[in-house]
């Protein structure tokens, strides 16, 4: 099984708009074997739109504690397989 590199970004305590800035900075340098795993207190709509426009795939799920788990991957990966929730 291929092991992909996870870039974890815990944005739960970051002030607006730092999560978006940091996430796009990671996506900019994302290799084909890596993906972004983000924890956020909200579903980051603009980030997901940016990812979609750039041809990336994403999965966004909320856990029981109200934390959003966002996985953004290159088109070759399935983000659902990489989401912990």
């Amino acid at each position: 099984m291929v092991r992909y590199e996870r870039h974890l970004l815990d944005a739960r305590e970051m002030e607006h708009p730092e999560p978006l800035q940091r996430a796009t900075a990671i996506l900019r340098n994302l290799s084909k074997e890596a993906y972004l795993y983000m924890l956020h207190r909200k579903k980051p709509l603009p980030l997901l739109e940016i990812a979609e426009r750039a041809g990336l795939r994403f999965c966004a799920r909320e856990d029981d504690g109200g934390t959003w788990h966002i996985v953004i991957t290159p088109a070759e990966m399935d983000p659902k397989d990489l989401c912990d929730v």
Binding site: E13, T24, L45, P46, E49, A51, G55
Partner: protein
Amino acid sequence: MFDNQGLSLEQAPPIKVVFTLFAAALLWALIGSIAYLLFAQSKDLDSAFFIHIWTLGIMGNLIFGALFQMLPVIAGVAMRSPWRDTRIVVTGLNLGLIALLYGFVTHYAGTFWLAATLLGVTLLYITLKIFVALYHFKEKGDTAQSMMYALGFIPFVLLSALLLIGILSGVTATLSTHYTALRFLHPHLGLWGWMGMLIVAVALQVVPMFYVTPAYPKRLHTLFFAALLALLLFGFMQSETGDTTMVRIVGGALWGVFGLVTLWLLRKKRRALWDASAKLWALGAALLLLQATAALVPPGFTQGCDLSLLLFALFVHTIAVAMLLKIIPFLTWFHLNAQGYFDAPMMHDILSHRNANRIFYLHLTAILLFMLSRFVPTLQPLAAIAMLCEAVALAWLLYHAVSAYRHTQKHGMRMTVNG
């Protein structure tokens, strides 16, 4: 409740919509502070001249610029044809203001009526348009609801202004017995109602989102609106008999409570770091506590100046500066990023923490000097210079942001992620 997730790329208005209105506001800030420097001491100009530069020129342009920007972000509503509406607002609001200022200088009734027509038509048009957009939005949250409450005050601000112009020009002389009541109502509807309620709307979303604080108490906005409405109605009736002391005290206390809640929330912010905009929100909340205290001071002790209302205006101004420091760098970065310029300047490239803090201290100095100059008139030139410096700093920020935006569009690398 509608829980908004941020600015949608599809719904975001073009950057020129917001920046054109901000540029108009900052131009009035420069004009206002220069006029204050030159004429405040000579008493050649009525205080209404300066007040309306602030309310319509600075705050009017800023508020509509911020509203066009924030409607999709915090209320989930996108405006149709925002650029056309921007041109209508910029033209109507600013020509109307010029006519009004000319009226204050010449006291010629015709210019007041021209101003009333331009301002009335423009503000009613844009208010109605935003109100209808919010009304049709199905998932109305607390913020959208509060915005509707705030917008609801505008027609009454305009009506009271029209009646005042009518009385002063002799057209509605039969209403002149209500002059004192209208003089009380017009500024309070504008400041407590329109601008204050709008800040409540913005705060409900922005304070928890920007500074990671707990949420404001549920239904606070509705209780606040009901209390304000009752208070203004009572104030109108009271002012017919000439004594509005109780209304001012209760109103001051009401806003003091909002200031206290805001300070309490900011104390609970998860991050220890206080950036300039968070400091400005805290300063604004502190000004609300001060205005509540000032409302207890009898007018005889303040040389005829409504100290409480003046402090309230400074609260509004402080929150406006807090929002400018956030919105200008964010929009520049956001729009470039959305266009695929991933080498777009980051927010701190547009406004560093150090420069943001400098603007904060400049603002603090300006409002302190301004307040002191109400009691020590010799300080007026110094206060005007401080206000001018702040206006120049904010205009520089906007200019710097526009330059960086244009530079990136011309020379930046457009690419896709992972491309």
